[in-house]
């Protein structure tokens, strides 16, 4: 009998070869798929990413191998059409490029494919020749021109309501421009008749009038074109759409100066006593110049002013800053290389180089840049015409009188809260649309600053307009008495401004900016602007006649200053607190880039806070003897009101809420693009719910601004 070898446990090589290898695990399969596609270099960086990427590759292969799902998956055709337009951003109107017998050669392939989809659903409207393309999704949404919402407390009692009204800025602008042109032509005729040779001042005035006529005619033409295309307001995407698919250098001049997504928001508090308290604030997008978003009025004005200074040190410092900006712009050429981007970068560099030419008093290049600055100033100021007029109508009670020598001067205070992000993030699109919010802050701060002290003359003309500038770039606002008259239905509800034709009011302006998401620090240009603005708000407190109220407001302002300057806070909460105190001092407005997401959120927070404040004040001042006897009852009432406010906060982002309806009105997306984690008072469960909803924001096909990172 053979002895068994003691060491025969291990199988031979032959036996090993015959044993089938264990099947690869799922993780191994994923890893293999990933490495096969991307190679080891990319996979080695993150095992989790490798597992994820590999799994997706395998899922994709498996899914593609299946037969295509058939009719059982077919959705509603209207929904499909909406989804289709959102995904590809296809225009709804066919533009035959000037010919009524438009053939394949004269249109783009995209228009053709769009029309096929449309033909499968509903017959589209045929656009007029030369009509400005209008996004189909923006048509037919006028159901959101007026938005109403009730605030119903936990026990079912209505605590208040709000009504948002979208202002038809372009209709108003058309009327305003027509009125202005009539006046300018009259002035032109008069001057021409009386001017004598050698009267240089009158000649200069005549030239200024002719220049203004030219600008007005240009605006009126664009305005009429937009109105013809059923667009009576500047929506959140208008300035972007104007450039898209068009020649940048020409298309940018099609922008009509008018506040973007401009709405008035009236908040009504239903007091327990049965009385109602109403107040109105405004909301609109950034006042900026989309024709060139790489520069801003603040820096251009400051550079130009410094270059003209007699102080050589000031000139030298400005020169350094200008050169630094030129270097920045030159650097951008490496990153932004589309034809339109390069056109805009070169133009901006050219403007800045013009400011370096010396001596400024005789340099033609410098004068050219001054014309650019004047044009930008005009463009920005015109956007504020409707907001100023509407504020004077809705918030006449905010007007106050100050003693000026022997006479009394009427002053109208206007406060705007910007919600822009001041960091130099670049959303510079290939179309030449440069959305850089630090520049928008610069534009807004400067134009509000320049309108400080602007004279408003009440006239019997039918429509309001800004008159011709004086030599310092100041323009008088001719305010139509009709424009500020209340409709018959509202008489008695809103105080009517006690203004007579020929009377003058001085505008007092204040602009602050509080970034609410992205870069939440009060620093840089924002801090500089806010520091001055807080002082301005303090100066307005002298008009509060009640001593206790004045003290309270000043204390609040002091606390806000601490939060801004010491804690460098910049948040949704701070923005709301600032708005709440500013509305006590002047006519309030607020907004971000397009005033739908960030601006819409703040608007709702303000509305909720207004209702809460009014109800709490009523409870505190109640004449109910029971409440007077027992302060804890007031405290309990305050707690109940706060709980209702908490409920309203949870409802801000509801699909049927005012905030989201404005977003729908602008883009069709049923979701506000906000970092919900930054919204104070929003329960975690709602943060999650809303965040999930945010996942579908790309229904807008990237219509919106910079994706706001968390």
């Amino acid at each position: 009998m053979e002895k068994m070898p003691l060491t025969q446990a291990a199988p031979s090589n032959l036996q090993l070869a015959k044993t089938p290898p264990p099947p690869p695990s799922l993780a191994e399969k994923c890893e293999h798929a990933y490495l096969q596609k991307y190679g080891p270099a990319k996979g080695a960086t993150s095992p989790a990413m490798m597992q994820l990427g590999g799994a997706l590759l395998l899922i994709g292969r498996a899914l593609m191998a299946k037969p295509l799902a058939g009719s059982e998956q077919k959705a509603d055709r209207k929904e499909a059409q909406r989804v289709y337009h959102s995904a590809y951003k296809t225009p709804g109107s066919i533009n035959p490029d000037g010919s009524k017998t438009s053939f394949f050669s004269k249109t783009t392939l995209m228009n053709m494919i769009t029309s096929i989809t449309q033909s499968l659903t509903v017959a589209p409207k045929i656009a007029d020749v030369g009509e400005t393309p209008v996004e189909p999704s923006l048509k037919g949404r006028n159901s959101h021109q007026t938005i109403k919402q009730d605030f119903v407390g936990r026990n079912g009692v209505k605590r208040g309501s709000e009504e948002l009204h979208r202002v038809d800025v372009l209709n108003r602008r058309q009327l305003s421009l027509t009125e202005k042109l009539k006046d300018l032509h009259q002035k032109q005729e008069n001057l021409k008749a009386e001017i004598q040779p050698g009267e240089t001042k009158k000649l200069t005035n005549l030239k200024a009038i002719e220049k203004e006529i030219h600008a007005c005619e240009h605006d009126l033409k664009n305005c009429e074109k937009a109105l013809k295309a059923d667009r009576d307001h500047n929506s959140s995407n208008t300035s972007r759409d104007v450039l898209e698919k068009n020649n940048f250098a020409e298309a940018r001049n099609n922008n009509v100066p008018g506040a973007v997504n401009f709405r008035s928001q009236t908040v009504t508090t239903s007091l327990v006593s049965g009385e109602i308290k109403t107040e109105t604030f405004q909301r609109f997008g950034a006042i900026w110049d989309p024709r060139n978003g790489l520069l801003n009025l603040k820096e251009l004005s400051e550079f130009a002013s410094a270059q003209k200074s007699s102080d050589p040190m000031e000139v030298f410092e400005a020169k350094g800053k200008i050169q630094s900006r030129i270097a920045e712009l030159n650097d951008m050429k490496k990153k932004f290389t589309s034809k339109d981007q390069l056109v805009l970068i070169d133009e901006s560099i050219s403007h800045l180089q013009g400011l370096l030419s010396r001596p400024p008093s005789i340099s033609e290049a410098f004068r050219n840049v001054e014309n650019v600055i004047a044009d930008r100033r005009r463009f920005l100021r015109e956007q504020l015409l409707e907001p100023i007029v509407c504020q004077m109508k809705d918030n006449a009670a905010k007007m106050y009188e100050v003693q000026n020598g022997d006479s009394k001067e009427k002053v109208f205070p206007m406060f705007h809260l910007g919600l822009l992000t001041g960091t130099e993030n670049s959303d510079f699109q290939a179309s030449g649309w440069a959305h850089m919010e630090h520049n928008q802050i610069g534009d807004m701060a400067q134009i509000f600053n320049e309108l400080q002290g602007c004279k408003i003359v009440v006239t019997d003309k039918e429509h309001s307009y800004f008159g011709v500038e004086d030599n310092d770039g100041n323009a008088i606002l001719y305010l139509s008495k009709d424009d500020i008259a209340q409709p018959a239905a509202a008489v008695g509800e809103v105080p009517v401004p006690n203004l007579q034709v020929g009377e003058t009011v001085t505008l007092s302006t204040c602009f602050m900016n509080v970034s609410v998401q992205g870069h939440n620090v009060n620093d840089g240009m924002q801090a500089e602007i806010n520091k001055k603005a807080i002082e301005q708000l303090f100066s307005w407190t002298v008009n509060i006649t009640d001593d206790a109220e004045r003290t309270e407001v000043r204390n609040t302002l002091a606390s806000l200053r601490t939060r801004l300057e010491d804690k460098k806070e910049s948040s949704f909460g701070l923005a709301t607190d600032i708005a709440m105190v500013a509305r006590q001092l002047g006519a309030l407005s607020e907004g971000c880039l397009s005033c739908k997401d960030r601006g819409g959120t703040i608007a709702e927070m303000i509305a909720i806070k207004i209702i809460e404040t009014n109800l709490k004040n009523e409870a505190a001042k109640s004449k109910d003897p029971d409440l007077k006897k027992d302060p804890s009852l007031v405290e309990k009432e305050h707690q109940d009101i706060a709980k209702d406010s908490h409920k309203f906060t949870q409802e801000i982002f509801d699909e049927n809420g005012a905030c989201v309806k404005v977003v729908i009105d602008c883009t069709g997306v049923k979701c506000a693009k906000v970092d919900y984690r930054q919204v104070p008072g929003l329960d975690k469960i709602n943060v999650a719910r809303n965040s999930i909803g945010l996942g579908v924001k790309f229904v807008s096909g990237g219509l919106d601004v910079v994706p706001e990172k968390s």
Binding site: L26, M110, S115, I126
Partner: protein, 228 residues
């Protein structure tokens, strides 16, 4: 990834481009007369670029992939399609009678699949995009287009296609998982988180158990936790 890149996907500039279908001998004179006029202006969008590629593939490569009968059917539809396109005004006033034949859709889908399997993702994407224009109500087509865009590393476009798919069919989990990964590639963590949350929600509600989906969700969770 910088935003300039993200937006370049939807604002790509392309120089004037001629589409030529001359090599296709099967197509009718209608197609020739129409296509000779095709002259896409500058500022062509990414969308148009994809459709151009799709037409080129169909008219140049159909013989490599399809049976003769399928080619005939496809060409008949393309001819009808292009004949209507010849006159835009006519097309607006007289919608195409009847949809594209199922056999045509199948033919395009077949080529798209083959292109995907052979890792020619750009071509596959172009054909799926063409299909979305023909049957926009089909969520599955949007989902497949999204996957092709994803594999082509066109992540921003992928998110839009997946959005369309998930809007049309809210029970689909794939769009959310793929979108989460796409947003990660685009450095949009907040969006990635939101998509992950939705994918998890659908996964929990679903009675089906797909180990690959579970693996993908675990990978996502791990990545998102690291960024948290």
């Amino acid at each position: 990834m910088d935003k300039g890149y993200i937006y370049s996907l939807t604002h790509t500039e392309t120089n004037t481009k001629q589409i030529s279908f001359q090599q296709n001998t099967e197509t009718s004179t209608h197609i020739h007369s129409a296509t000779n006029y095709v002259n896409i202006e500058s500022q062509t969008t990414e969308f148009k670029k994809h459709l151009t590629i799709a037409f080129e593939i169909l008219l140049k490569e159909e013989k490599s992939y399809l049976e003769k009968s399928a080619i005939e059917s496809l060409n008949n539809d393309l001819k009808r399609y292009l004949t209507h396109l010849e006159n835009i005004i006519y097309l607006i006033q007289h919608p195409i009678n009847g949809n594209i034949q199922k056999s045509t859709l199948d033919s395009i889908e077949t080529i798209a699949k083959i292109k995907f399997e052979s890792e020619q993702y750009a071509d596959s994407l172009a054909l799926y995009i063409l299909l979305t224009t023909l049957i926009p109500e089909n969520a599955d087509i949007w989902c497949r287009a999204g996957i092709a865009a994803h594999e082509n590393e066109s992540y921003e476009l992928a998110t839009r296609l997946f959005t369309a798919a998930s809007t049309l069919d809210q029970s689909l989990i794939y769009p959310w998982v793929y979108s989460a990964h796409s947003y990660l590639q685009l450095d949009l963590l907040f969006d990635a988180e939101a998509c992950y949350a939705k994918a998890t929600e659908i996964s929990l509600e679903s009675s089906e158990n797909d180990p690959l989906i579970d693996n993908a969700l675990r990978g996502l969770q791990s990545i998102l936790q690291k960024h948290a």
